[in-house]
Symmetry: C2
Subunit: 300 residues, 2 copies
């Protein structure tokens, strides 16, 4: 049961289902409400725990009721929250997520600018017994610290390179593995064709990198060229959190000593199972489900 | 310190401040977030407690984190929440409130249809030592029970007659005092001129009734005709919860044995102080502030 140290963003989403998205200053009635945790690093940590790994999360929250909700839910998944720091006088990140009948989402997020950027309090991955680090881009100082510490002890350091990627590129260079979101890669490179953009950015990076393109699968830059990993053909019900599950599963597979090709298959299978189920991280498969899915495709 | 028994709706509002209201399925950034309690009966109860009365609230909440937030905030105001019932398997009422820079509000509310309507568990006002009852229209069965029980022991029973008023009119007839919101009165009567609508509806009601029309003041039906109580001329900063504060103060004044004219002045002064301050119920004045306001106008 290897440990993955996850560093980044944890948020509480207040999700309201409505027939049609609101568009003006009026009163609307929701048919359904759910309060669920989100945030790339936090959801990846929950996925790792579901998949049988040990996940330690470091994140900044406020000293408010939302922090209690965030930590209680992650703890229920089995995530170690000892390094989720309550920052006094700050607000936890929260979002109103309003979803219409077709799955279209209006998101209003609040991120407290007073949350301290300082990351010097982060434990080292070796102190945690971690076999890999996973960081998102929402707390760049934390990501830089953790990815640097992973590199110093020759552990895999995975960057979930989603919007917004700090333009100086320091986070990308700190990681041993960079997994771009397609939109974030376009923003960063100014090139809207994922394969071309990846080839362009890969030249400046010391490690392995890929871009995830939803159902189209994954393009990785390997041996000086682009390799395509096809996606699984499944019926998509809900994509919320699917990318985060992919990153968690990918980091866990590396922590287990798999090579990148095997880790991409493992992660894509986890995401393919997730998108077939309603709910965000709650739709993450168990390890047994994931292995059965891979075995049925001759990939176990 | 007389007791007012408040029966009705308690909700948690997740309030996001944005420069401009969202209008499509995209991601928006909030500049400010607050999680605050709302609901007509619950906010009236908080106002009563601020104004030196004892407030006992009966309301239905779920067995969720929002229920904890609702009760914790009301308890901090000094509201007796022993009769706030946690309904197992239900969700508490919650709203996303998105406010733009001009104060315009988009509200998405979720009210769980599974919350049990049954009100037979409500204590009697006499058992609580209550000197008045205040009910809103969001839990008609609860309001009908409490207003009927007040009438049976000859206590004032105030109905906050805001949208939606059940069309059979039973709630209006159960109350000794009905305070209509202007829009609700228009909806109920089909007459958009408040004085005419009030005169029309008053004929069918056994008790005293009035309509509150914001800064224009209050029209009451007294001695067979319409009496106008002018509003106070104050600078309006935030009207959120002002109506609820008005109803709480009005019920408290009746519980203290004041006549209707005095109670209207007391309530209008409480609301006039509230609208000068940002925040919902947090802007409710203390008793000392209210008495100083009235004394300065020769009304103490």
């Amino acid at each position: 049961m290897p440990t993955v140290f996850c560093v980044g963003h944890a948020v509480q989403d207040f999700v309201f289902s409505v027939p049609v998205l609101p568009d003006r200053g009026e009163k609307y009635r929701a048919t359904r409400f759910e309060s669920v945790g989100g945030g790339p690093a936090a959801t990846a940590a929950a996925a790792i725990a579901r998949l049988g790994g040990r996940a330690v999360l470091a994140a900044r929250v406020g000293d408010d009721a939302a922090a209690e909700m965030i930590v209680a839910e992650l703890a229920a998944y089995g995530v170690d929250c000892a390094h989720v720091r309550r920052c006094s006088g700050c607000a936890s990140s929260v979002s109103a997520v309003i979803v219409d009948a077709r799955g279209e989402r209006m998101i209003v997020n609040h991120l407290d600018p007073a949350l301290p950027a300082d990351a010097t309090w982060l434990p080292g991955p070796a102190d945690l017994g971690a076999a890999a680090v996973l960081a998102d881009t929402r707390w760049p100082e934390g990501a830089l610290d953790a990815l640097g510490a992973a590199r110093a002890v020759a552990l895999p350091g995975v960057l979930d390179a989603d919007r917004p990627i700090p333009p100086d590129g320091a986070l990308l260079r700190a990681a041993s593995h960079v997994a771009f979101g397609a939109d974030a890669l376009t923003d960063f490179t100014g090139i809207d064709q994922p394969q071309r953009a990846l080839a362009e950015v890969a030249r400046g990076l010391p490690g392995w990198c890929c871009v995830t393109v939803g159902g189209e699968g994954v393009y990785a830059f390997e041996d000086g060229g682009i390799r395509h990993y096809a996606g699984f053909d499944v019926e998509v019900v809900d994509t919320l959190g699917a990318g985060d599950v992919w990153h968690g599963a990918f980091a866990l597979a590396l922590a287990e000593g798999r090579d990148e090709a095997t880790a991409v298959g493992f992660a894509s299978a986890a995401a393919a199972l997730k998108v077939q189920r309603r709910g965000g991280r709650a739709g993450c498969p168990s390890r047994a489900e994931l292995e059965a899915f891979l075995a049925a495709r001759g990939m176990a």
